[in-house]
């Protein structure tokens, strides 16, 4: 069966520090991968999605970036964190033959607090 792992679960970082959040998927090949941010336990904001290695689409301009160095690995990064980067970050995957009819499967998220 397919599983998705995100780490760390919780992270406290000072303003201006770098960030690296990692997400890996097991049990499937060539998944579509997504990073979301959820603010205040409500709506989800799509940050990035990837349909293959090295292919990243950005949805919202900001000081975050994403990379996909391996088929089932998706990394969210920042060179300098801002206070406004605080939030709950969720990684998700969907099947490679996904034409829109397949659901997304989410990791358990990373809660990021910026001090």
């Amino acid at each position: 069966s397919q599983t998705i792992h995100q780490w760390p679960a919780t992270l406290v970082q000072p303003v201006g520090s770098p960030l690296s959040l990692e997400c890996t998927v097991e049990g499937t090949s060539n998944p579509n991968l997504y990073w979301y941010r959820q603010a205040a336990g409500r709506g989800l904001q799509l940050l990035f999605y990837s349909v293959g290695i090295g292919q990243i689409s950005s949805e919202v301009p900001q000081n975050l970036s994403a990379s996909r160095p391996q088929d089932r690995q998706f990394i969210l990064s920042s060179k300098k964190l801002l206070l406004s980067d605080s939030g709950f970050y969720l990684c998700a995957w969907s099947g490679m033959d996904d034409a829109g009819s397949q659901p997304q499967h989410f990791g358990d998220g990373t809660r990021l607090s910026i001090l």
Partner: protein, 112 residues
């Protein structure tokens, strides 16, 4: 442009009573509609989806949803609520692209 509306921030229901969480959508073409549930400090879990066919879709944990094309609605229902159903529920729509549009979420409280 695609959009999803969940008109209720919160729904309160007594245990054992039926529950409904409302969702309306706007999408060009045929909609792919989904419901997800989120428990505290967890990711979203897929409950059910409507792609085509029967307007009543059955999903996990006894939930079902009714697709109504004329009203552009996709309401989530359960005949008998449990306290453990208390969570945040998201309706979502996809239009055949890689993007999913999520509603703002509805918090369900089931009182014992």
């Amino acid at each position: 442009a695609q959009s999803v509306a969940q008109p209720e921030d919160q729904v309160n229901v007594a245990e054992g009573n039926p529950l409904t969480v409302k969702c309306t959508y706007s999408v060009s073409g045929n909609p792919y509609l989904f419901w997800y549930v989120q428990y505290p400090n967890r990711g979203l879990q897929f409950l059910l989806k409507y792609i085509t066919g029967d307007n009543l879709v059955k999903g996990s944990y006894g939930f079902e949803a009714e697709f109504n094309k004329s009203q552009t609605s996709f309401h989530l229902k359960k005949p008998s609520a449990l306290v453990s159903d208390s969570a945040l529920y998201f309706c979502a729509v996809r239009d055949g692209t890689f993007k999913t549009i999520f509603g703002a979420g509805t918090r369900l409280f089931v009182k014992a």
